[in-house]
């Protein structure tokens, strides 16, 4: 994730983000996405996200 990627993704969503803001966003998202990747690598995903309601049984 770098500033160019942030700008490109935002532009694809119809929004312009200036380079300075994109740098900050990239610096915030990079460690976040690294942690996501770590979780994804070791998690066996359920097919249905709705299974949260099963986890939330009282």
């Amino acid at each position: 994730m770098d500033a160019d990627a942030v700008i490109a993704l935002a532009r694809a969503n119809g929004v312009e983000i200036v380079p300075e803001a994109a740098e900050r966003i990239a610096s915030v998202l990079k460690p976040t996405l690294t942690r996501l990747n770590a979780v994804s690598a070791r998690t066996e995903f359920d097919a249905e996200p709705a299974t949260l309601v099963k986890v939330l049984r009282p």
Binding site: V15, L36, P49, L52, L56
Partner: protein
């Protein structure tokens, strides 16, 4: 200051009239509320008419005649909900289920309270309607985003208020304002007619001066709702009955490291003293190792960013200038999150939550943690707008609250001391739908510690 339960009992016993309490609340809003900038729009005429009707008729419910006011994000037919924003001025076509249930319980609704713009701010700054101010020190933040709810209850302007909590927005103002706030289990309270921010994380809950006040409010608003398919049909417990139950043998978990990193000494000191109180009441303190909170925070960030931007994308494209720089800047990362990243963060939730619940709640009944790493912050010093320090500063406010939102668990914020005159809060975190247990532990502590007896001087 009278508690909500005391007010309800006094009104029901006709020792005081609803009109008297409602007029007093309106007078106090006029005298004190303006200094705090905690109200957005009060309807004195409607409130007094409702109060007089309450006084003339039989007791309608557990909140009969009690004046309340709420964060300006709960729609009521015919009323404008500003959502703390510049953009919205249309009148609502529906009434939020939470408000309707409070109405049915007999409460008097004074009107709407200040909040962070679109509920997207943990400090209480609002660049459109003005910043809300802390009753304990008006130079300090209230916490957000339910800023007006926290300030109004703490200042004794109303007996209770609704807020919402997506990343800490009930617990933070409760903590910074020295009152009680319950962020319920996700899906415990219907969100019909409430402004959305992040539909996988948003919860609605009460703020009050006392634990029993919040217990009564939650008992009224909780439960299934045909208008909101996500509202759980899990049984609604008698939360008030839980208050007053002994806590002998109950286990309170602490997590050194996870919830102690870079926490101010006065906050840690207050929590340690609170643990001693629970020990004295017969509770056991259990040390735990938690799953990685930084990972849970990251998952939260992806879900919250993607879902918040989904709510706001169209207006951000068409009218970006109508957002404050801070909210606009905080929404922008959502555009850079791909569908796969969002789906992975959502799909991980059941397993991450199940592992957390197993790791923690097999060993303790409730987890004790700070609400924030510090007791207070000055409005001016945390006025970071959308600038380079924004992500860091705001992230510090929610470091201990946002993982609880991703995990969908209940969290009860309780006052537990003071740091240079500013309240300190701790949170009790429970397993899903364990609000009664949290109220039980919280009430026992509150009765022993008596922090509610301290009142801000206004």
């Amino acid at each position: 200051m009278m508690s909500l339960v005391e007010a309800a009992e006094a009104i029901a016993a006709r020792r005081v009239s609803s009109r008297e309490l409602t007029q007093a609340a309106l007078d106090r809003f006029e005298r004190v509320g303006k200094k705090l900038n905690c109200a957005i729009a009060l309807d004195a005429e409607a409130a007094l008419a409702a109060a007089e009707k309450a006084d003339k008729g039989p007791v309608q419910g557990p909140l009969h005649g009690v004046p309340l006011a709420h964060k300006d994000m709960f729609y009521r037919v015919g009323r404008v909900s500003t959502l703390g924003a510049k953009l919205r001025r249309d009148k609502a076509a529906v009434t939020a289920t939470a408000l309707a249930r409070l109405d049915a319980a007999g409460a008097v609704d004074l009107g709407t309270l200040n909040m962070a713009e679109f509920a997207f701010g943990p400090t209480g700054h609002n660049y459109h309607v003005g910043h809300c101010r802390n009753p304990w020190n008006t130079e300090c933040v209230t916490g957000g985003s339910s800023s007006g709810s926290g300030a109004s209850v703490a200042a004794g302007l109303v007996f209770g208020a609704l807020g919402s909590d997506t990343g800490g927005s009930i617990r933070l103002p409760a903590s910074f304002c020295g009152i009680v706030g319950m962020k319920p289990t996700w899906s415990r309270v219907s969100r019909y007619g409430a402004m959305p921010l992040s539909f996988s994380l948003d919860t609605i809950g009460p703020l009050g001066r006392r634990v029993r006040d919040c217990a009564r409010l939650l008992g009224v608003i909780a439960g299934a709702d045909p208008e909101d398919p996500t509202a759980s049909a899990a049984p609604v417990h008698d939360y008030e009955a839980a208050c007053g139950q002994k806590i002998t043998g109950m286990r309170l978990g602490i997590a050194p490291g996870a919830f102690t990193r870079d926490v101010a000494d006065p906050v840690m000191g207050a929590i340690e003293k609170a643990l001693e109180v629970w020990r004295g009441l017969g509770g056991e303190i259990v040390e735990l190792k938690l799953p990685d909170l930084d990972e849970i925070s990251a998952l939260y960030q992806i879900v919250a960013s993607a879902e918040a931007v989904a709510v706001h994308a169209e207006t951000l494209r068409r009218r970006p200038g109508d957002y404050s720089e801070q909210v606009r800047t905080r929404l922008q990362p959502g555009f850079a999150i791909t569908a796969l990243q969002y789906l992975d963060a959502i799909r991980a939730r059941p397993e991450v939550t199940a592992r957390f619940v197993e790791a923690v709640f097999d060993k303790c009944d409730a987890l004790v943690a700070p609400v924030a790493p510090f007791a207070s912050a000055r409005i001016e010093e945390t006025d970071v707008g959308g600038g380079p320090e924004m992500f860091r500063v705001l992230g510090e406010f929610t470091r201990f609250t946002r993982p609880v939102n991703y995990l969908a668990l209940p969290g009860l914020s309780l006052p537990c001391g003071f740091d240079q005159g500013m309240p300190i809060g701790l949170q009790l975190i429970g397993r899903p739908f364990a609000e009664a247990m949290l109220f039980r532990l919280g009430h026992a502590y509150e009765e022993a510690a008596e922090w509610y007896k301290a009142e801000p001087t206004l």
